[in-house]
């Protein structure tokens, strides 16, 4: 699975996710990637999110939207909301994976509970940063 989130100069947020699914999956099985609110969500008032991992758990927890809801209704900052979803809620159901997120102020979060996650970010005018392992 791959994904991207961005905040532009006009203050708009967007999120995108794309996947080939899981190796050896049953034909017709769909995961979280094309499900708005599960694998992809963006709202200018809160955050843009793209997820990757065991899709069924991200669907059942409505993971991408949950980050936004925690920020909007519980007033959690992005880092806490993203960590709560990935490191508590997803993990509690046996889910593996992570997400990337950017909020309306340009703060970013890239939490994952798996061994690694291919990831990268770049603020305009700064060097790009990439990572794989913890």
């Amino acid at each position: 699975t791959v994904g991207a989130v961005a905040l532009d100069a006009a203050g708009n947020l967007a999120a995108a996710t794309s996947t080939g699914g899981m190796t050896n999956k049953r034909a017709g099985r769909v995961g979280d990637s094309p499900i708005i609110g599960a694998g992809c969500y963006a709202n200018n008032r809160t955050v843009a999110v793209s997820c990757t991992g065991t899709g069924e758990v991200f669907m059942r927890t409505v993971a991408a939207y949950d980050v936004s809801a925690l920020m909007e209704y519980a007033n959690l900052p992005l880092s806490q909301a993203a960590d709560k979803v990935v490191m508590e809620k997803v993990l509690a159901l046996g889910g593996s994976g992570g997400l990337i997120a950017v909020d309306h102020q340009g703060n970013i979060a890239l939490p994952f509970n798996s061994e690694g996650m291919y990831r990268g970010y770049g603020y305009v005018g700064k060097e790009a940063v990439v990572g794989i392992y913890r």
Partner: protein, 186 residues
Amino acid sequence: MKPVIVIHGGAGALSRTAMDSEKEQRYRAALQAIVTRGQEILAANGSALDAVTEAVRLLEECPLFNAGKGAVFTHRGTHELDASIMDGRSLDAGAIAGVNHIRNPILAARTVLERSPHVMFTAEGAETFAREQGLEMVEPDFFSTDERYQQLLKAQAGNDKILLDHDGERQTQQGADPLDPDRKFG
């Protein structure tokens, strides 16, 4: 407020010991190039929607990642690709699922968002819509790579496990039984 792009190429059982340095460098170079392209779009006052669309399209074109070219195989030895996109400004969204003839599923999702009153299309309907909208169509074997096919064969040989995209990589590298997908090192 600072314009920024963030990307991911999937998560899983990725460890330094299991990754050879040449392959690691290829991954890092691909991630770096795609982040940089996203930054360029934002720096030129491009929209967040354009930046994420192009970033994901480039990730789909890179066979290292499980999307577009280099997508994993289903149990039947076929491909089924999914994609979605959402605009935070309007809460507009577009998604497609279960396709294997659309070269860039994210462009199809973007087209659903921009040129239809709907949010999601699946399978044959999604491909008909994409074709009518003039998107590039390919044969399903466009997405196939030998590495992914070998991962499928090993998964099927080892108790028919279902594997996350990058869990299959380590299985192939080590030549061992498929990893337990519940094995975590967090």
